[in-house]
C-alpha cells in the first residue's frame, strides 16, 4: 500500500508547480442510465450509442473555446451504465472529484441518485420529465435542464387553444408514465380552458411493435379503436412508453389531427429547427457527430453550457457555487430558442420555449402569443411558483 499522506504531499507539490502555468480545470460528467427497451415503433427513432453524450461533447467544446480566453479548461466524462450499476458509477465519479454531473435517467433513478449524491454534488437532469421531481419530490442538488411533462402538455394545449381546437379526445397508454402524461394533459386542459370530451386507454398487450405486416393490422385496428368517440377537434396521445401513438395519424375514425406523442409533438429540440441562429448550432453538432441532434443531446449540451456560463461569469466551479449562481437573477443563457433561459429559483427548473414539430419542420413554438404571466410568458408553461409543493429551494 502506498502511504496516503505521501500521495497527498506529492499531489499538492504537483499542484503548486502546475497551477501558475495550467488553466484551472472544471471536471464534469454525463451519466446515462440505460434500461433495456424494445425497438421503437419507427426505426428512425432507434437511439444512437452516443445519445446525449454527443451533445455534451459539443457543449464541452464550446466551454473549452471560451475557457481559452478565461484561463479555464473543461473536461467531460461520459458513461452509460445499466440501472443496477448506477449508484456505483455515481460513487466512482465522486471519487474522481467530479461534482458536476448531467444525468440522463428515468425519474425514480434520478431521485435515488440525488439522495445518494449529497449536497457536495450538483446533478443536472438532462432526461427525466417527471413532475414530482420538480414538485413534492424536488431535491436541492438537482437542476432540471430537461422540460417537465407539464411544460410539454401546456405547450400543446396552448397551441390547440390558439387554433380553437378545444375539444380533445385523449388516448393514453397503459404504462405508469403514460398515465402521468395523461394526467398532465388533464391539468393543462383545465388550466387553459380546453375540454377533454372523452378518454380512451390503449392497453399494451405486449405484441410486437414492428412486424412485416404491422401496417395492415394497424389500418384495421386503429379506426375501430377510435370509432364512435364524442365530438372532438383533435386527438391527443399520451404514449410516453412508445407503444401506439405513431399509428394514430391518418388512421383515426374521424378525420382529426393528432398531437402529443405523435403528430404535432412538443420537444425541447428538433434537428429541423432553424430559427434564432439554430442552423449554425445544428451544423456544428452534425460536423462533430455525423448525425442529427436529438432532445437528449440538446439537454446535455444545455447542462454543459449552464456550467460553462456560470464558471465564466462567476469564476467559481464548485457545485455549491454553481448552483447558487445558476439560481440567482444574474444567470441567463442563450440557447437558440429566441430568448434567454433562466432557472426557476423555487424548484430549479430551467425556463425554456418548447418547439412543436411534425417531425419535418418547426410548426410553432410555445408559449403562444396572448398567454401572459406577471413574471415571464415562459412561466405559463409548467407548474408555477404559487402551486409548487417543492420545499428544497427555500420556497
Amino acid at each position: 500500500m502506498t502511504n496516503p499522506s505521501l500521495l497527498l504531499a506529492v499531489f499538492w507539490a504537483a499542484m503548486l508547480i502546475a497551477s501558475p502555468l495550467q488553466a484551472a480545470e472544471v471536471k464534469t460528467a454525463v451519466l446515462r442510465i440505460d434500461r433495456v427497451l424494445g425497438p421503437p415503433i419507427s426505426r428512425l427513432d432507434a437511439p444512437p450509442a452516443d445519445l446525449g453524450f454527443a451533445g455534451a461533447m459539443l457543449g464541452n467544446e464550446d466551454n473549452r473555446t471560451t475557457g481559452a480566453f478565461t484561463g479555464m479548461d473543461y473536461t467531460v466524462k461520459t458513461q452509460a451504465v445499466a440501472p443496477e450499476q448506477a449508484e456505483a458509477a455515481l460513487d466512482a465519479l465522486k471519487a474522481e472529484g467530479i461534482g458536476l454531473i448531467a444525468v440522463i435517467a428515468e425519474g425514480d433513478m434520478l431521485k435515488a441518485l440525488s439522495d445518494r449524491a449529497g449536497p457536495e454534488v450538483l446533478l443536472l437532469n438532462a432526461g427525466a420529465r417527471d413532475e414530482a421531481l420538480r414538485d413534492a419530490d424536488c431535491r436541492a442538488n438537482v437542476l432540471h435542464v430537461s422540460p417537465s411533462r407539464s411544460m410539454l402538455s401546456d405547450s400543446i394545449v396552448q397551441f390547440l387553444m390558439w387554433k380553437k381546437w378545444s375539444r380533445i379526445l385523449l388516448i393514453h397508454g397503459s404504462h405508469p408514465e403514460d398515465k402521468l402524461l395523461a394526467d398532465s394533459y388533464r391539468k393543462s386542459a383545465a388550466k387553459f380552458g380546453a375540454e377533454i370530451v372523452e378518454e380512451r386507454e390503449f392497453v399494451d398487450t405486449g405484441g410486437g411493435r414492428r412486424t412485416d405486416t404491422g401496417h395492415v393490422m394497424v389500418q384495421k385496428q386503429i379506426p375501430v379503436f377510435t370509432q364512435d368517440a364524442e365530438d372532438h377537434d383533435v386527438v391527443v396521445a399520451a404514449d410516453e412508453a412508445g407503444v401506439f401513438a405513431p399509428y394514430l395519424p391518418y388512421h383515426t375514425w374521424d378525420p382529426r389531427p393528432v398531437a402529443g406523442s405523435a403528430g404535432l409533438r412538443p420537444v425541447s429540440w428538433h434537428a429541423a429547427h432553424e430559427a434564432w441562429g439554430a442552423t449554425q448550432f445544428q451544423r456544428r453538432f452534425e460536423k462533430l457527430t455525423g448525425r442529427n441532434m436529438r432532445e437528449e443531446d440538446y439537454q446535455a449540451w444545455l447542462a454543459m453550457r449552464v456550467i460553462g456560463e456560470v464558471v465564466t461569469r462567476s469564476g467559481k466551479a464548485d457545485p455549491v457555487s454553481v448552483r447558487a449562481y445558476a439560481l440567482s437573477p444574474d444567470f441567463e443563457l442563450a440557447a437558440f430558442k429566441g430568448q434567454k433561459l433562466t432557472f426557476r429559483s423555487w424548484n430549479g427548473q430551467l425556463r425554456q420555449p418548447i418547439l412543436l414539430t411534425d417531425g419535418r419542420v418547426t410548426v410553432s413554438v410555445s408559449p403562444q402569443d396572448g398567454f401572459l404571466h406577471q413574471h415571464s410568458p415562459l412561466d405559463t408553461l409548467g407548474i408555477d411558483a404559487p402551486e409548487t409543493a417543492c420545499q428544497a429551494f427555500g420556497g
Binding site: F69, A334, G338, P377
Partner: protein, 324 residues
Amino acid sequence: MLRSALAFLPAVLMFVGPALANKVFVSNERGNSVTVLDSQSWEVIATFPAGNRPRGITISPDGKELYVCASDDDTVRVFDPETYEELHTLPSGPDPELFALDPSGNPLYIANEDDNLVTVVDVKTRQVLAEVPVGVEPEGVAVSPDAKTVINTSETTNMAHFIDTSSYKIVHNVLVDQRPRYAEFTADGKKLYVSSEIGGTVSVIDLSAAEPKITKKITFAVPGVLPEWLQPVGVKATKDGSRVFVALGPANRVAVIDGKTDEVLDYLLVGQRVWQMAFTPDEEFLITTNGNSNDVSIIDVKAEEVIRSVQVGEQPWGVVVAPN
C-alpha cells in the same frame, strides 16, 4: 426593370441640390439576391443574384467593389456595383456571416461562424493573411477608426474580442451579455457599442484607458412589447457622435440613443424583425433591413422619423450604401 431605370434617369439629371443619389445595396438572405435602391427616389432599380444565403454586405471606399458574404457558398463574392457582374470571389473560410473592411479598403476581416475564426483577407491579392481563433460563433466585426484594432463578437462565448491588426493576436476580451451580435465604434474611436441580442442590452465600452471597460449597459423598454422581444442587433452611430441607432429585432423598433449620455430618447416603428442598418454618406437617411416583412424602412435621421418603407427581396439581412 429597364423601363423603371430609364424612367428614373431624367429625374436624376433634373435634380439640383446638395444630396446626391446613391445606390443602396440590400442582401436578401433567402432570396439569394441583392436588391439595389436609389437613395433619392427610393425605387428599386435592380436585383441581381448574389450566391447562396447572402448576409454581410459592404463596399470599398472608392465604390468600385461590392463585397457579399455568400454564407452557404463559403465564399465572399465581389461584384461590380455598376454592372452587377460578379468580378471574382475571395477566400473567406467557411460560413462567412459578417465582415468589416479596413478604412483604407484593405484587408477584409471576416467572421466564420461555424469555425470560431476571424479570417483576414487581402482583397487585392485575394490571399488569406491570417486566421485568428476567437470564441464560439463569431459574428460582429468592427475596425477601429485608426485601423489598429478589430473587434469580433462571439455569440456563444459572449465576448468582444479585441484583435491587434499588426500582430493578429487577441489583446483583450470583454465579457458582455448573451449573444453579442454587432460592434460599432464611435468616429473618435473612444467608445465601442456592442449589442447583445438575447441579453437585451447594448454594452458601452470605454476605450480611453489602457484596458477597455464597460461603463454602461443600455436597456430597452417599449410599452406593449414583451421585454423578451427587445433584442438589439444592428448599431449605427452618427459621425458627430450625437446619436446612436439600435435595431431591436422582433420588437420591430429602432431605438434612438443620445450619444453623449447613452440614454434612450425614442423608439421608431419600422418593419418586422429589424436586423442591420446603414447611413447614406451624408447621414441624412438611415436604412434598416426588416427580415420578416421583406422590406427596408427609411429613417429621416434629423427628424428621427420613418419616412417610408420599400419592398425588397426575401428576408433582407444586410445593407450598405455606395460612397459619393
